[in-house]
């Protein structure tokens, strides 16, 4: 019995130490990345390519996710609101729900699924095939050439994608509310615009920047630290998406607490 307890405590201790070590490494990597963000050399072509991948090419998936979520949200709020005779709150709740929470979180998770995985797989493959070593021998720092353009693109594209997701999500709710639930178009728009505050929009865009940073950073971190062979690439990709998704949800909670409980 004592042996079992000791073994459990040992396993738990090891888990905690390993988790803290990993967190420390990620934090150091993040600090190193941030500290280089304004220091030359800069690679504009790599940045534009990353911006295209993170931002522009994510637009279809973000747009589709947002429109269906906004539409479903309108139906749910109408149904729920009807239970206590308040179905007219649909525009306000759709707007606040999309802008404060669903828009940023959905964008974060979509970037984690689409971009984090592709960055991790790309960099891990480069590592396995010695392309990262080749970069170093060619006097090019992988942090500068591979990490910074992607992370900077994530920070910039995140708010733009969130802005698009918020707008499309609200539009999805508007379509459902006006076409199937009998809402007046002008009143719906007026209620939406009047209800949202500047703080709602700022918090939404700030979350987008933070989630873009987390998603791209995790892809780079796990890609550059991948194991050998196909298994290493697969493990790096899986771990990067898991870590990005969890950190995005945790950061969402923290940012919500900072913006709306202060």
């Amino acid at each position: 019995m004592i042996t079992l307890v000791a073994s459990t405590i040992r396993s738990l201790g090891r888990l905690v130490i390993n988790s803290l070590t990993a967190l420390g490494r990620v934090a150091l990597f993040a600090l190193s990345t941030i500290s280089h963000i304004l220091r030359p050399p800069f690679y504009p072509r790599e940045f534009l390519s990353a911006l295209l991948n993170v931002g522009y090419l994510s637009l279809p998936v973000v747009g589709l996710t947002a429109i269906f979520t906004g539409a479903a949200l309108a139906l749910q709020i109408y149904s729920g609101g009807s239970r206590f005779n308040a179905p007219e709150v649909v525009p306000q709740i759709v707007a606040i729900g999309m802008v404060r929470e669903l828009g940023p979180v959905l964008v974060g998770l979509m970037i984690a699924a689409r971009v984090t995985s592709s960055i991790a797989a790309e960099l891990a493959t480069m590592k396995v095939t010695e392309q990262i070593d080749a970069l170093v021998t060619l006097s090019t720092a992988p942090l500068k050439y591979l990490v910074l353009p992607r992370v900077f693109a994530g920070i910039l594209a995140g708010p733009i994608l969130v802005g698009v997701a918020d707008s499309i999500g609200v539009f999805g709710g508007f379509i459902v509310a006006t076409q199937t639930l009998g809402f007046n178009s002008a009143t719906y728009i007026l209620n939406t615009v009047n209800f949202l505050t500047g703080a709602d929009i700022i918090s939404s865009l700030a979350k987008g920047a933070a989630f873009g940073f987390i998603a791209t950073l995790m892809g780079c971190y796990f890609g550059l630290n991948s194991g050998r062979g196909a298994h290493g690439v697969g493990a790096a990709t899986k771990s990067s998406v898991q870590a990005a998704a969890i950190l995005i949800l945790a950061a969402n909670f923290l940012l919500t607490a900072v913006f709306f409980t202060a």
């Binding site: 095939t129 070593d133 170093v136 060619l138 090019t140």
Partner: protein
């Protein structure tokens, strides 16, 4: 001149290099032989700062490499990686001219492309491959492109990591001849890692055998066949029986 002074390196609890001391003279072509997993690639990577040794020092022309990892220092080296390590998102010419497009060796784009095409020609590839992606090339052509990239900036020291691995015997012979020609023509110091005894005979001025984390034997190519060392004898004759333990 490259001087390894008691280099040691472990990965976890596995000591790969225990105490390697070796000198490669300027203009010399040194070939390192030894079994798989004996740390030959690790040894080369310590010079370039890709792996930091746990113990010992490395000097290149008297300069301690641990204190000189800047752009200027690295531009003295070229490296041919085992798998080519070409950047698969860029066309061939940009791979070759990679270093000529950034840093203190930066040239105008047209000039960099011209140099890349000249280097490609030097390794037997025509300008028609310049715009292809590495994935569109055969293994032998990829090795040639990688070789062109290694010599693009006219380095003083070139490392060749398993240059003929994965190639057929004819292509291996072509690559070996090419390396020998380039080393002689450019007057560079070269360090090559290989298991291929044909490569050794073509490329080497001097041969060193790495075994059990240290230099087991070092001598000229002519001395290798009568070194009197049973490890060298077993290795160069490819015998399963002998002092080098093998898994069966």
């Amino acid at each position: 001149m490259i001087q390894f002074d008691n280099i040691g390196k472990s990965f976890g609890s596995n000591p790969v290099l225990r105490s390697v001391s070796l000198t490669v003279e300027r203009g010399q072509s040194m070939v390192i032989i030894g079994g798989s997993g004996t740390g030959k690639s690790v040894l080369i990577k310590t010079v370039l700062g890709l792996i930091t040794p746990d113990t010992g020092k490395i000097f290149v022309d008297g300069q301690d490499v641990t204190k000189a990892k800047n752009d200027d220092f690295l531009s003295r080296f070229g490296m041919l990686f085992q798998g080519g390590a070409l950047f698969d998102s860029m066309p061939v010419w940009q791979n070759v001219a990679f270093r000529l497009q950034r840093g203190h060796l930066k040239r105008p784009k047209a000039e960099a492309r011209e140099i890349a095409i000249e280097k490609l020609r030097r390794v037997g590839l025509g300008p028609d491959v310049a715009n292809l992606l590495p994935a569109e090339l055969s293994g032998g052509m990829q090795k040639r492109v990688s070789l062109a990239r290694a010599i693009a900036t006219n380095p003083q020291i070139i490392f060749f990591d398993e240059p003929t691995t994965g190639l057929d015997p004819i292509m291996s012979s072509v690559i070996n001849d090419l390396i020998r020609e380039i080393v002689v023509e450019m007057g560079v110091t070269a360090m090559t890692i290989t298991h291929d005894m044909t490569s050794v005979e073509t490329i080497a001025d001097k041969v060193a055998m790495l075994h059990d984390g240290a230099i087991q034997w070092c001598g000229t190519l002519n001395d290798m066949s009568h070194s009197g060392d049973p490890h060298v004898d077993q290795f160069i004759n490819g015998r399963a029986d002998g002092p080098i333990e093998t898994l069966r």
